[in-house]
C-alpha cells in the first residue's frame, strides 16, 4: 500500500516505521486540502499530528504515543483507541476525542479547546492548564489538576489521590469518588447555574445526566500569597 492514499473522500496516511517527520509532513500537506484525514497503522508512535491547523478533521486508527495533538490550533482530532502522555499538550483550540484510555498529563498546559476521554485518564490530567475543558468519562489519576491556572477538568468516574492539588483558578469537577484531596483545596457545592455551565460542555458529547452528585474543587487560595503569617499554611506543603 502506498504511504498516502485516497479512500472515498478521505486522505489515508500510513505511519508504520516511517520517519515521524515524513509522516507529519504528509499530514500537514493533507490538512491543506481541507479533506478528512485518516492516519492508519499508527503503532503507538509518538508525536503524531503536532501543531495542526484549524478546520481539519483527522482520525488516528488504533493507539498513539506521546504528544498526539500537541499544540493543536483548531483541528478536530479523533484517536480511535488509547493515547500516551500529554495528549493535546499546549493546545489552543480544537477538539480531541480519545476512544480509550489517556496516559499521563492529558491536556498538560492546554490553553483552549476540549479534550474528551472515553476511558480513564492517567495521573496529572490538566496539569498547568491555562484554559479549555477536559472531560474524562472514567477516573482521573493522581494529582490531577496540579496548579491548573484556568479551565475545567470534569471527571464522571472519580478521581485518584491528591486531587486538585495546589490550584490557581482552574476547577476540577468530579461526579464519583475522590480518593484524596491535594493541598489547599476547597470542595464546594456547585450552584444550579454552574452545573448548567458544565452540562453545556457535556451536552454536545451526549453525557448529560441530571442525577450526578457533583463535587466542585477550587483553590483555597492559602498558597497564593507568600507573605502568609500563618506558619501552618507552609507546613502543609
Amino acid at each position: 500500500m502506498s504511504e498516502v492514499a485516497e479512500r472515498m473522500d478521505e486522505i489515508v496516511i500510513e505511519v508504520g516505521k516511517r520517519h515521524i517527520r515524513e509522516v507529519n509532513r504528509d499530514i500537514m500537506d493533507a490538512c491543506a486540502t481541507g479533506r478528512p484525514i485518516r492516519v492508519v497503522n499508527t503503532l503507538s508512535r509518538h508525536n503524531l499530528g503536532v501543531g495542526l491547523p484549524d478546520n481539519v478533521d483527522i482520525t488516528f486508527e488504533g493507539s498513539v504515543g506521546y504528544y498526539c495533538g500537541g499544540l493543536n490550533t483548531g483541528a478536530n482530532i479523533s484517536i480511535e483507541r488509547n493515547c500516551g502522555w500529554a495528549v493535546g499538550e499546549g493546545m489552543a483550540k480544537g477538539h480531541i476525542t480519545v476512544g480509550g484510555y489517556a496516559g499521563m498529563s492529558c491536556g498538560a498546559a492546554m490553553i483552549g479547546g476540549t479534550i474528551h476521554v472515553k476511558g480513564d485518564a492517567g495521573p496529572r490530567v490538566g496539569v498547568a492548564m491555562k484554559g479549555g475543558n477536559i472531560v474524562v468519562e472514567g477516573k482521573i489519576g493522581y494529582q490531577s489538576g496540579f496548579m491548573a491556572h484556568s479551565g475545567r477538568i470534569i471527571a464522571l468516574g472519580g478521581a485518584g489521590e491528591s486531587c486538585a492539588d495546589a490550584l490557581w483558578e482552574g476547577e476540577v469537577w468530579v461526579a464519583g469518588e475522590v480518593d484524596s484531596l491535594g493541598v489547599d483545596v476547597d470542595v464546594i457545592e456547585p450552584t444550579a447555574e454552574e452545573v448548567a455551565e458544565v452540562d453545556a460542555i457535556l451536552e454536545p458529547l451526549g453525557l448529560v445526566d441530571s442525577s450526578r452528585n457533583w463535587r466542585k474543587m477550587v483553590s483555597g487560595q492559602r498558597l497564593w500569597y507568600f507573605e502568609s503569617r500563618d506558619a501552618s499554611a507552609w507546613l502543609m506543603i
Binding site: 515521524i20 517527520r21 507529519n24 509518538h46 508525536n47 503536532v50 501543531g51 504515543g65 506521546y66 504528544y67 500537541g70 499544540l71 490550533t73 502522555w85 500529554a86 499538550e89 499546549g90 489552543a92 498529563s105 498538560a108 498546559a109 490553553i111 496529572r124 496539569v127 498547568a128 491555562k130 484554559g131 496540579f146 496548579m147 491556572h149 484556568s150 490557581w168 483558578e169 498558597l223 497564593w224 500569597y225 507568600f226 507573605e227 502568609s228 503569617r229 506558619a231 507552609w234
Partner: protein
C-alpha cells in the same frame, strides 16, 4: 627540678597590689583598660557571627525564609579573577592587538545538521533569559534593540513572548519553562530558537518566583494568573520527566517548528558532567549551563547562597562531558553565571564555552544600581551599589519593575545604546585577550591560555597553577 610544692614560693620582693596588676601603670588611659579580652567587645565566634545572629532573628520574626533578587552573596565562591591569561611570548606568536583581526562569529545549534536556521551571532555573547515580569517592558525592548545593533540575541525568559521584545530583537530565543506561561504555537514559530528550561543557576531544582507586586494586569494576563498573587512556579515539566521523554519532547518541538530552529536546554550547574551528557544525548542542539553565580529577579535567599557549583567548574565539567560522549562540535555549550566583563567572558570561552550569556551584567549596563533616586534606594533600606531588591518591584531606576512611574525612569533609547556599547566593549576585551594569546578567532581560546592564581580555582577547573605549571589535581 621541681620546687617543693608543700612550701609556697615567695618573691624576694613585696607582691604587687591588685591595683598595680590591673595594667594601671603610669600612662594608662581611663576607659581603655588593658587586660580585657578583645572578645568582650568584638565577639569572635566563627559560627555565631553578627550575620548569623541577624539571620536567626530574621527567621524568628518572619517565620519563613527570606526572598530576594540579584545573585549569590556566598563569599566562598571563586571569582574569575582567580584565573589569569598567559599570552603568547616565546613558544607562541601573538597577533597584532591593534591591527590584526580576530573572528567573533558564533554559530549555535548547527552541529547536528538537523535544523534549517542555526543561530549565527556576530559576537559570542547574548542576553540571558530575564522575563517580562521580572523586568519592565521598556527594559526588555532596550535589551532587544541593543543586542540587535551588535548582531546578537536576547531571550524571552519564562513569561511568554513580549511583542515589544520580538519587534526589538532580530534574534529571539523563546523560553519554555515548566510552568509554560503564555505558550503559543505562533510564538514558537516566530522565535529564532526554543529553550526548554530544567533549572537555573540562582536556584537549581526550584521553580520561578515572581512576587505579587510585579504580577501586574499585563503580566497576569500573559501568565494566566490572578492579579497580585505571589507566583511560585513549578520546576517539573508537565509533560516530560526523564531523559527518554525529553528526547520525544524535543522531537515534538522540532515538528512544531518544522525543523527550522535550534532547541536549547538550560540547566542550573549541579552535576554538569552527567546532566550535560544526558541533555546532549536527548537531542538538544545547545546546552546552557548556568552557574551558582547566576542572577535572578527573586529567589529564596538560601538557594541563591547555598546551591549549585561555580560557573568556572561547571564549564570544564560540561566540556569534558561533551568530549567524552563525542558531542563536541555537534552540541554547542553556552555558559552563564557571574560574568561581569569581556575578561570574564574570555575566561569562559577558554575554559570551553562556545558562547556566554549575561543577565545581571546587562541590567547593570542599563543602569541597575546607578546612583540616582537615592531616596528610593533608602526607602528599600539599601543604597546604590548594594541594591538587591528586584523582588519588590520597587526598582529605583525602573528596570526590575512593573510600576509605570518607576519604569519611566529608564530611558529606553539610552538603555539600548548602553547595551550595544557594553556588548561592543566586552567583545573588544575578548578579542584583545585572544589576540595576545595568538588566536585569530575567539573560539580558539583554550584552557592552556589560562593559569590559576589560587589552589581553589585550579582544583575547580584543572587549569594549571601559575608558576609551577601543573594542575592542582588529585
Amino acid at each position: 627540678m621541681a620546687h617543693d610544692l608543700s612550701k609556697p614560693y615567695e618573691y624576694p620582693f613585696d607582691v604587687a597590689s591588685e591595683e598595680e596588676i590591673r595594667f594601671r601603670d603610669a600612662g594608662a588611659v581611663d576607659g581603655r583598660p588593658a587586660g580585657v579580652p578583645s572578645s568582650y567587645d568584638e565577639g569572635g565566634s566563627t559560627r555565631w557571627t553578627p550575620e548569623a545572629i541577624s539571620e536567626v532573628h530574621a527567621l524568628a520574626q518572619l517565620g519563613r525564609y527570606q526572598v530576594r533578587g540579584y545573585n549569590t552573596f556566598n563569599k566562598q565562591l571563586p571569582t574569575f579573577d582567580d584565573l589569569t591569561f598567559v599570552p603568547a611570548t616565546m613558544t607562541r606568536l601573538p597577533l597584532e592587538g591593534y591591527r590584526e583581526s580576530c573572528d567573533t562569529t558564533t554559530v549555535l545549534g548547527g552541529g547536528r545538521g538537523l535544523v534549517e536556521r542555526p543561530l549565527e551571532l556576530k559576537i559570542p555573547i547574548y542576553i540571558a533569559s530575564m522575563s517580562f515580569g521580572a523586568l519592565s517592558a521598556s527594559a526588555k525592548a532596550s535589551l532587544g534593540y541593543g543586542a540587535s545593533k551588535v548582531g546578537t540575541m536576547t531571550c524571552t525568559g519564562e513569561g511568554g513572548m513580549l511583542e515589544e521584545e520580538r519587534e526589538a530583537s532580530q534574534r529571539l530565543l523563546y523560553q519554555m519553562s515548566p510552568a509554560r506561561y503564555g505558550v503559543d504555537l505562533d510564538h514558537l514559530r516566530r522565535a529564532d530558537a526554543l529553550e526548554l528550561v530544567v533549572g537555573q543557576g540562582a536556584k537549581p531544582g526550584t521553580g520561578g518566583l515572581l512576587l505579587g507586586m510585579k504580577v501586574s494586569p499585563r503580566v497576569s494576563k500573559m501568565r494566566t494568573l490572578p492579579e497580585g498573587v505571589d507566583q511560585r512556579s513549578t520546576i517539573r515539566h508537565p509533560d516530560f520527566l526523564g531523559a527518554d521523554d525529553l528526547a520525544v519532547k524535543i522531537e515534538e518541538l522540532r515538528i512544531a517548528t518544522n525543523y527550522q530552529v535550534p532547541i536549547f536546554i538550560k540547566m542550573g550547574a549541579t552535576r554538569p558532567r552527567f546532566d550535560v551528557a544526558v541533555a546532549a544525548k536527548a537531542g538538544a542542539d545547545v546546552v546552557v549551563v548556568d552557574g551558582a553565580e547566576g542572577g535572578t529577579g527573586a529567589s529564596p535567599e538560601l538557594l541563591l547562597n547555598h546551591t549549585g557549583i561555580p560557573t568556572m567548574s561547571a564549564i570544564r565539567a560540561a566540556r569534558e562531558a561533551l568530549d567524552e560522549c563525542g558531542m563536541t562540535g555537534k552540541v554547542s555549550l553556552v555558559a552563564a553565571g557571574g560574568i561581569r566583563s569581556g575578561v570574564d567572558a574570555a575566561k569562559c570561552l577558554a575554559l570551553g564555552a562556545d558562547a556566554v550569556m549575561i543577565g545581571n551584567a546587562a541590567m547593570v549596563a542599563l543602569g541597575c544600581n546607578s546612583p540616582r533616586y537615592l531616596e528610593d534606594y533608602a526607602a528599600l533600606g539599601t543604597s546604590p551599589g548594594a541594591c538587591h531588591h528586584c523582588h519588590t518591584g520597587r526598582c529605583p531606576v525602573g528596570i526590575a519593575t512593573q510600576d509605570e512611574e518607576l519604569e519611566s525612569r529608564m530611558n529606553p533609547r539610552a538603555g539600548a545604546e548602553r547595551i550595544a556599547r557594553y556588548l561592543t566593549a566586552m567583545t573588544m576585551e575578548i578579542t584583545a585577550l585572544a589576540k595576545a594569546c595568538g588566536k585569530s578567532s575567539v573560539h580558539n581560546l583554550e584552557t592552556e591560555d589560562l593559569r590559576a592564581l589560587s589552589f581553589q580555582a585550579s582544583a575547580f577547573t584543572g587549569v594549571k597553577m601559575a608558576g609551577i605549571d601543573r594542575a592542582f589535581d588529585w
